[in-house]
């Protein structure tokens, strides 16, 4: 019997606010342990949390961008459990009344269309600290606690169980990462832990509607890790069900190195978190005016931009996907497109030269030294035949290095193309005079040597001869000699 996987994801995204969610401490990654702390995030007796409005704004941005309903009134709750990296003995989160509910994102359905993955809720919470065991400064039988991360704002994005393959989960995660980065609310870096993902997965007979017993997968630290862990778990559950067994509801930890998921000890997962509303924080109110203000500040979103590009510029879907992945690249392209008569040419330049440069240098397009206007000028010079395409690339590189204008780069490199008919005629005459054996072959009807002769023209002109005019001239001269 074929089985269909049913997958839901819980994604935690660290919000890129300057300060923590309930105190004024900084949120920089990789700082000296316990250097970004204060009495509040240390949970010292008598301290109280005060909500950072920026964190709320970021969460609402994400909520609006993925079509959620923003709750005018939401409630912070305490999630109670003991752990050394949890200074207060509880985590402030949202439970019964989250900030955002009922949204969706679109992922490619594999047939050129879009499939909606529903988002159940997005809520705000604080991050915990880190227990440190395996650093050089930790002694044997010792555990140290780094509280720096404590109180870093998080949003938890909970999907509905709408995904049916590891690939779909991968696409969904990719979409979420694109969105958080696009909105500037999270850097989306899974390796540094600013984006984290847990998965719920169950199997059911294909074509049925019920839900099987699910397991929870944790500790996946890369996008590929999520995909691999899900594939592993689908195979494991399939084996169990096919042999007539029953899946046990449990939490499994993905071990990237061993390529397998192992059950968590049951002691670690048997938690009653005793959630209750946090009496230290009044209900969070996001009134219509504030919501409208945040909505008005949202940038054009990737899907809307893709639609606009499709209709205004008729770009291929593949190009749109590549160019829209990153907000900076997309904004750059969006500024470039109206300046270039052929949109496809503009797209090719960004996908080719621009992205290659950024990848090679691991650079951000916001620090890019060639503005869209300058790149448009390079493309225009090529179109007008003033420089060749290959010269254009040299000009582009020169501009990247020295930051000078396209004209100045052309002059500096001496790449101005020879289009003057008289100048070209004497060049062609010289090549004919210097290569009489090949010219004779052409006159004998062996037209394939034409390419060789044109190559000589380009060589002699140091690449500056306008190829179209030079070809026309060479043809006319040789035919005249017949």
């Amino acid at each position: 019997m074929p089985f269909e996987p049913v997958i839901g994801l819980e994604v935690h995204a660290q919000l890129a606010t300057v300060s923590k969610i309930f105190c004024g401490c900084g949120t920089r990654f990789g700082a000296e342990p316990n250097s970004q702390v204060c009495p509040v995030c240390l949970g010292l007796p008598g301290t109280l949390p005060v909500l950072n409005k920026k964190a709320v704004e970021f969460a609402v941005r994400m909520g609006l961008a993925v079509h959620c309903r923003i709750k005018e009134k939401s409630i912070f709750a305490r999630k109670n459990y003991f752990y050394p990296d949890l200074p207060k003995g509880y985590q402030i989160s949202q439970y019964e009344e989250p900030l955002c509910e009922d949204g969706w994102v679109g992922i490619p359905d594999g047939n050129g269309g879009v499939r909606k993955i529903r988002i159940h809720r997005i809520h705000l919470e604080e991050d915990a600290g880190k227990s440190v065991h395996d650093e050089v400064y930790v002694g044997e039988n010792e555990s140290l606690v780094d509280v720096n991360r404590c109180g870093t704002p998080l949003i938890e994005i909970v999907s509905e169980p709408d995904m049916h393959s590891p690939q779909e989960a991968y696409e969904y995660l990719t979409k979420l990462r694109q969105m958080v980065r696009w909105l500037g609310v999270c850097d989306g870096n899974m390796e540094e832990g600013s984006l984290r993902c847990d998965a719920n997965i169950s199997l059911r007979p294909a074509g049925t509607e019920g839900l099987g017993v699910k397991t929870e997968l944790k500790n996946m630290n890369t996008f590929r890790g999520v995909e691999k862990a899900l594939a592993f778990e689908i195979a494991r559950q399939t084996r169990i069900l096919e042999s007539g067994g029953k899946v046990v509801q449990q939490t499994l930890l993905w071990d990237e190195a061993a390529d397998e998921a192992r059950p968590m000890r049951s002691k670690e997962e048997a938690h009653d978190y005793r959630y209750f509303p946090d009496p230290d924080l009044p209900p969070l109110v996001v009134d219509a005016a504030w919501q409208a203000e945040i909505a008005a500040s949202l940038p054009e979103l990737p899907d809307a931009r893709a639609g606009r590009w499709r209709s205004a510029y008729d770009l291929p879907d593949y190009d749109i996907r590549v160019l829209n992945e990153d907000r900076g690249v997309s904004d750059y392209t969006d500024a470039l497109l109206p300046l270039v008569p052929d949109p496809k040419k503009a797209a090719n330049w960004v996908m080719g030269e621009v992205l290659r440069f950024l990848n090679e240098r691991k650079a951000d397009i916001r620090d890019f030294s060639v503005p869209p206007e300058a790149l448009a000028e390079v493309i225009r010079l090529i179109d007008a035949g003033e420089i060749s395409t290959s010269s254009g690339k040299k000009v582009f590189e020169e501009m990247l290095g020295s930051g000078i204008s396209p004209r100045a780069a052309v002059e500096k490199l001496g790449l101005s193309q020879v289009s003057d008919a008289g100048a070209l005629e004497s060049l062609v005459d010289r090549v004919i005079a210097e290569n009489s054996p090949e010219v004779q072959k052409y006159l004998d009807g062996k037209h394939q040597v034409f390419g060789f002769l044109m190559g000589r023209v380009m060589q002699v002109s140091k690449g500056k001869a306008n190829p179209a005019i030079a070809t026309e001239t060479m043809k006319r001269k040789l035919e005249g000699m017949k």
Partner: protein, 482 residues
Amino acid sequence: MTVPYHRFRKQLEDGESTCETTVVSFLAQIRAHESLNAFVTVLEDRALEKAREIDRKLAQGGAGSLAGMVVAVKDLFAMKHVRTTCGSRILERYHSPYDSAVVGRLEEEDAIVIGKTNMDEFGMGSSSENSAYGPVLNPRDPGRTPGGSSGGSAAAVAAGLAMTAIGSDTGGSVRQPAALTGVVGLRPTYGRISRYGLIAFASSLDTVGIFSSDVTDCAILLQALAGRDPRDATSSLLPVPDYAEALRSSVRGLTFGLPREYYGEGLSPEVGEAIHAVVSLIRESGGEIREISLPLTDYGIATYYLICTAEASSNLARYDGVKFGLRIDPEGDLRRMIEETRHEGFGSEVKRRIMLGTYVLSAGYYDAYYLKAQRVRTLIRRDFENAFRECDVLIGPTSPTTAFRLGEKSEDPMAMYLSDIYTVTAPLAGLPAISIPAGLDSRGLPIGLQLTGRAFQEENLLRAGYWIEQVRIRQTGCCQPA
């Protein structure tokens, strides 16, 4: 009992006294009354230094509104570089790295903190017997308790060891000891004074409270402490009125409500008679008295203990031996470290309440206990709203009996809880209430009269309290018991 602060301030300004000599004599009084066990820590050097500094300020001008006020602070307010124990073994050697809002305000206004007072551990108790530092004795009768949990603060004012004192009131912890020691005790509206640095017992009920020898001092201290604090999200934005103004206006026009439920079973006849005597005085003086009903009074104790234990179980989770305070580290096992630390560090009443609260919030019991208690809390609030349509101030006893003997109720938690019957409902509704001395019983023990007002109308309480105080002075020749 020494002179009230407002008279001492005149002496200071007239050059008849200095802060330094006054502090010296208070320190001598404290030593003479060491057996009362009112203080956990006496800040001798610090208070003397501060006194000299304020004497200089008084000479030069620019002294604050509390200049020279000798004040005792309950040992659950964080005070920088000073031991802050909360009456618990678990914080025996804990020194706070920051000042609570209250201590900060007191010192900004040039009050002199003379010491930290003894209390029921974490504010849990009604007799000040639940302290790791031994019980506090009632200065009126050393065989009896001063009430609790702020018993040390009440005893300090009653015995003349401080002019005023700061306590905290969760379910009566200021008003009940004020009644039992014969001083004035105010619980302001929830949100009127910042809780920042008040070490939490039950966050939705905890308020800063004021002890003084008369109503005028109470008004002066409230004026200095009330107001918005950005570090406490539950502190109110409402402007602070001029409380001295309230003392100048007459009680004419105020309607007093007499809750019929406050005069039933359990009320000592002598206490009832004393309250009725005051009620008669008010009526004779043209004040309006109306009998009203608070039908849910009987549910107050149960509701209060469900909510306060639930919140306490979470608030006290941070005492785990990881970052501060006591750590019992049996054999490097984390779980055992937390268990042993809490086992050794907390007293039995604290453990009882943590267990009750943990139970109340547990899966399967939450709806039946915590949620139901919250619903009743809403109904109790409505009860008061209805009552305040008919009157401005409620008048009744603070405690059903006068001071009880040491050990009398400490083995019977239920009897102890029931002594809070008149004080727990105002906190559930967030309302302000004040206890005013109203005579002595046949043993010469003080009787307290409680006035409860509308939210943020402390001025009505001060006005009525001041008037009662004046009438009693005229009638008995003294506002205080012998």
